[in-house]
Symmetry: C2
Subunit: 103 residues, 2 copies
DNA sequence: AATTTGCGAAACCAATTAGTTGCGCATATA
DNA sequence: TATATGCGCAACTAATTGGTTTCGCAAATT
């Protein structure tokens, strides 16, 4: 199924899963231990992340290790590019100064 | 209402609205002309973007000009920070080379 | 003064989402 | 061989989403 990366990272639980896997690969059970929800719910999140290539899996016996694939996340970074010049602009910095002076 | 920036940018129409407003401020009607959907549907998207401070409004008679506020978008950039070192790593570049050789 | 225009809000609807429980299957372990 | 474990899948559910149409109101235009 065709999936959108932006839609995938919209959910806070999925973002937390990504942050976990960015540190080290884990099995679904190990991931689920970090959350309140059921293993199956985590499994569904993994499926969604997998479908938009944010993850890669490596089977090891009956266990599946899910790795984070940083490549796809670049899509988000590419879209963010249009705002970078705004963040860096002198006008933006001036706005900040004026905002702080009000408080 | 408390709104999540990640959830706000999950919708492709809302991302397109942001990209429009990043260039110049516009009224809801002007924005709606760029899309197939109704003005009211666009109005709902604007509301969501507004609720998480991605927009600012300036009333002018009966018209409302919506401006893009780049400040809030930094939240996304902050979260993306954790992947930046992965993109820059030599291992990642090596992966790319190996992937290309396979094809 | 009457009409048109720009807008947000409300009511409604179909589709999607994020969760649940129950299941089956393959792989380990006793 | 019998049992326990790790996993994905299917069915169901409540809540949310993105769209529609209808409406009311204030501001502009005639």
């Amino acid at each position: 199924m065709r999936r959108d990366v932006f839609q995938a990272i919209a959910d806070p639980t999925r973002r937390a899963i990504i942050t976990l896997l960015a540190v080290s690969a884990m099995t679904p059970n190990a991931i689920a231990e970090h959350f309140e929800t059921s293993r199956q719910a985590i499994s569904k999140h993994i499926k969604i992340l997998n479908e938009c290539s944010l993850l890669e899996q490596k089977q090891s016996g009956r266990e599946i290790y899910y790795h984070f694939n940083p490549e796809k996340m670049k899509e988000v970074d590419v879209w963010m590019e249009q705002f970078r010049k705004m963040w860096e602009s002198r006008f933006d910095q001036l706005d900040e100064i004026l905002k702080n002076r009000k408080n």
